[in-house]
Symmetry: C2
Subunit: 354 residues, 2 copies
């Protein structure tokens, strides 16, 4: 009976299936392998009483914006906070599209652009990357000028490929589009790449960032964006009041006070990325893509077997139903010993019976 009442847009969607938090080695969600640093945890415990959790959160995010401003060197008036960067994606669609409008995304990329696009009733135009998951900028720009999307989403480095766009490619798109460009820099700390320097020149640029990856707070769901004050004021019209809770605001600000530890952890991950990439490249029958993120995408005729063997060993990686990612798996860079366990299991499958 209820099916008579369901909306058309909901019918186009399936519920999101998150793998339950694995008890084994979780290399499937691009999290970092370490919990809160002791400094941050102690500070939060000390502050817990003063947070007055019976009161609604600060809807202006004054302290957190100040901390982000210090971290990014971007003015607080150019910052908006979301319940994860997911919510900022959804808000961007609400602020800059009406049902029937077009948005442009790459394929493959982070799937939530398309999901929220569907929820908002827009048409999602997909640009297929080439066999090595690279973009031909000229072709992309031609398509955009034809399709006239209200928003172009660029994930840089791209998820799940780890491949980067050059800054000049992004700037060329910004120059040639009559609409909004969203550069999702979820993996910024691992790539060192950012389009933030383009903000003063391009009022239509939005940069998305997150506390869920290098900053280690996936459990608290804090994302932020950097954009012109004009864009921020459009977001404020559609932002749900009190969208990020008091504890998450406090924890995010505390982590930014502890950047020495964050940098130390990022360096470990980058070192492990280099080591694991070299190891994987040394395996025959496996193509490994150069990553600017905290994960590595690889392709092999044996991914089915590899995925199975990893699961048996309690090691969880990401597989895909998207046909352009056929034969691909994505592995998050974990701790050195986790990466070793992963590598040994993959090697065993590929060299089995050799």
């Amino acid at each position: 009976m209820i099916n008579r009442y369901i909306s058309e847009r909901a019918l186009r969607l399936e519920s999101y299936k998150a793998e339950p938090n694995a008890q084994g080695i979780a290399l499937d969600k691009n999290e970092i392998p370490w919990g809160l640093n002791d400094n941050v945890e102690e500070a939060l415990i000390k502050r817990l009483k003063a947070l007055r959790l019976n009161r609604y959160p600060d809807n202006d995010y004054a302290n957190l914006k100040k901390a982000i401003s210090k971290y990014t060197s971007v003015d607080t008036r150019s910052i908006c906070i979301g319940n994860g960067s997911d919510e900022l994606i959804h808000m961007a669609l609400q602020a800059f599209t009406d049902p029937g409008d077009i948005i442009a995304v790459q394929n493959p990329t982070f799937p939530m652009y398309k999901v929220y696009g569907t929820i908002c009733g827009v048409r999602v135009w997909e640009y297929n990357l080439d066999g090595n998951f690279e973009m031909k900028s000229d072709e992309f720009i031609n398509c955009i000028q034809r399709e006239k999307p209200r928003i172009v989403f660029l994930c840089n480095p791209n998820n799940p490929t780890g491949i980067k766009l050059e800054l000049q490619e992004i700037e060329e798109i910004l120059k040639r589009i009559d609409g909004i460009v969203i550069v999702d820099e979820a993996y910024f700390e691992f790539s060192g790449l950012t389009a933030a320097g383009l903000l003063p020149g391009y009022e239509n640029l939005i940069i998305l960032r997150t506390f869920s990856k290098a900053l280690g707070l996936a459990g608290l769901r804090v994302g932020y964006m950097l954009a012109s004050p004009a864009v921020i004021s459009c977001f404020e019209r559609v932002r749900p009041p009190f969208n990020v809770n008091t504890f998450a605001q406090a924890a995010a600000a505390e982590v930014l006070e502890d950047m020495g530890k964050v940098t130390e952890r990022v360096e470990i991950i980058k070192g492990e990325r280099k080591r694991l990439t070299a190891l994987l490249k040394g395996l025959r029958g496996l193509q490994c893509f150069e990553s600017w993120s905290n994960f590595i995408l690889f392709r092999s005729g044996s991914t089915g077997k590899i995925y199975e063997r990893l699961q048996e060993a309690g090691i969880y990686v990401r597989n895909f139903s998207n046909p352009v990612l056929k034969d691909c798996l994505r592995v998050t860079i974990g701790s050195p010993s986790e990466n070793d366990s992963f590598y040994e299991a993959v090697k065993e499958v590929l060299y089995d019976g050799a």
Copy 2:
């Protein structure tokens, strides 16, 4: 330049202005006046490390749903969790309306039904309550049968009036509508009223609840809903993954373990509501509405002066721009001494120069 890109729906909205958290006596947001109980705080501090905040939240909300199920005697498959009940309102619109559809709300009522309706591009049909903020059920049902809304929102007890609907009125609406009925029971613990008993009989009934009021966690933004498993599965299609963070999930479950304290606090608020209502009714030139919530609405020719005097005294109450609430103020029931300060200030204005 950006104004060329803003969506039509965003243009219809203004950004939400939340009063900054007052340093004085905050009686404007229907919060309870007490912070986390010591038991709950100690439990959370103990659990903080085990929460593994570097990992994404449990997207199935298993522990929290189990705790809510125990509290409400409703099966876990009939529960959905939101980042505040605000998010559940937004999800209901996504799940059950498409742009151009109609929803029905009362006027006055909680304003966010209309805000999220506008974001979702639906037409909001408003039923004006009478001068005493009461609903004529027959008239309301006739209108609904004419307007054919996809969703009817009923806030019970209503915010900002505190006035209740009878269970049989709700059931009559459920019987006569070809759509979804959402009963917002944000103030359930203060009213003792619930339509939960109607759930087995009406697959189109949704009950909204929150941890922000009696349960004292406004700062953590946790709402929940009770509905048929068929309705829940529609919500799951549009629910953002990981929408409620790990700490909020844990804190909400801990509060439900400490219901003795919650009940004790609710009884204090109910006692104060009775006392303050009697005091206000004793004042000439002031009409005070009987409340089933943790706030009281009153009307007076002197509200402008009263509001001003309260602000001077550092006491914050809620005023309204909605014309049907002309001359009305809403005061949250605070601690006994806060209520005394409020009452004395009001009395001074009304009896000034008498």
